[in-house]
Amino acid sequence: MERVPIIKMGPALVVSIQGDMHDRLAIALEEELTKTIVATGAKGVLIDISTLDAVDSFIGRMLDTISSVSRILDADTVVVGMRPSVAITLVELGLSLSGVKTALNVERGMAFLQRRLEEAGVDREDARADDDG
């Protein structure tokens, strides 16, 4: 069965969604990503949807779910590359995707994950300092 490839780039996992997604593929991606986050200890997930010419509520829910699950597993998720026509349609559709962090492109998405990583590093150090003190 065809799967969506998940690539590890440093501490982040990168998923590039190609063309049209059937439901089974979306569900498989969710499961695969979750397993991979745990297996690799990844701290960030970047999902590139720049090839999607339409996003419906099913895909929207998938992105939402992935964001939530990743958060529980201590990883940040960012979705990049949403096309203007898709954004306009989603607004009309009423899908807010409020729990999903988005960025214009891969570059900005990675920058975001990097910043979050640094912040998390600082938080961890602070926590350690508190423990010591």
């Binding site: 979705v79 990049v80 949403m82 203007p84 026509s85 954004a87 306009i88 989603l90 607004v91 009309e92 807010s96 995707l97 962090k101 988005t102 960025a103 214009l104 492109n105 570059e107 900005r108 998405g109």
Partner: protein, 296 residues
């Protein structure tokens, strides 16, 4: 159209094609098609010859003008109409291309018809129906081309009147001028969103100083634009809200879920802050210059 009738017209066209072509070209040249030099005699000849050939082939099939056999003719007429429309011909001048063929065909029919008046009458009628149908098709294709040109021009006007300006790396400004109707706002919206991607900009400042009134509909469109930008990972600021507009919005109960600043300058200052940039004073002040202030 009865099959044998079509075939008989086909026979006439086939047998007398050169003569018909010559007569037709004469009529075309005498008409307005060549005048004003918009089309050369050579072009006209080629078009007429090709048309007659396609007509002969289509007639031989016996179908009516909507059938598949007439597809080459429809395509050709479509192309001719389109180019004539773009070259500035009138619809009549364009349709004349087809209608002027009538006389040549009738003459040919008379030449071949012999004594059977009834057959001639029938043939004449069928030929009239055929050419009228093709002539009308020409006019419709012409119309459609004109409509496309108008639509394109409208879009261009909409886009030209709302240029997107790059204020800095990552910050765009969209100065809206004039009244915003539904159609125009959509074009503006799509333009802005695409500009965010093209310029890799995370903030767009929508300045509405030049917009006389903001009613509920316009406010809705603005809000949708902001929501769409946010979905894509960018954000918007609104600037230039005049006192009257602010009052109108409150009266209408319009809630703008977006940061708004009185002036574009203020919005730009905020945008710089957001992207982590600051304007600092350089060592040498320009002669006579004053401290313009720092944006931290």
């Amino acid at each position: 159209m009865a099959k044998d009738q079509g075939v008989s017209i086909a026979k006439i066209v086939a047998a007398d094609e050169d003569r018909i072509l010559a007569d037709w070209l004469e009529a075309l040249k005498a008409g307005t098609n060549l005048r004003a030099g918009r089309i050369t005699e050579m072009e006209l000849q080629t078009q007429a010859r090709d048309f007659l050939r396609h007509l002969r082939e289509a007639l031989a099939s016996g179908g009516d003008t909507g059938s598949a056999a007439y597809e080459p003719i429809r395509e050709m007429l479509g192309d001719i109409s389109r180019s004539r429309a773009l070259q500035g011909f009138t619809p009549t001048e364009t349709a004349t291309f087809v209608f002027s063929l009538k006389e040549a065909l009738f003459t040919a029919m008379n030449r071949s018809g012999g004594k059977d008046a009834e057959a001639i009458a029938r043939g004449t009628w069928e030929m009239t129906v055929l050419l009228d149908s093709l002539g009308l098709y020409t006019i419709e294709a012409f119309q459609k081309t004109r409509e496309q040109v108008i639509a394109r021009q409208q879009r261009e006007i909409a886009e030209l009147s709302t240029p997107v300006v790059k204020l800095w790396d990552g910050v765009l400004a969209l100065p809206l001028i004039g009244t915003l109707d539904s159609e125009r706002t959509q074009v503006v919206m799509e333009n802005l969103l695409q500009s965010l991607i093209d310029n890799n900009a995370e903030i767009a400042i929508i300045d509405i100083t030049g917009v006389p009134t903001v009613d509920t509909l316009v406010a809705q469109h603005l809000l949708k634009t902001v929501s769409a930008a946010r979905l894509m990972g960018a954000d918007c600021l609104i600037s230039g809200i005049r006192p009257q507009i602010a009052q109108t919005m409150v009266h209408l109960g319009v809630e703008l879920n977006v940061v708004s600043k009185a002036s574009l300058a203020d919005a730009f200052a905020l945008a710089l802050q957001r992207i982590g940039r600051a304007v600092v004073r350089t060592k040498n002040l320009p002669a006579g210059g004053t401290d313009r202030g720092r944006v931290g």
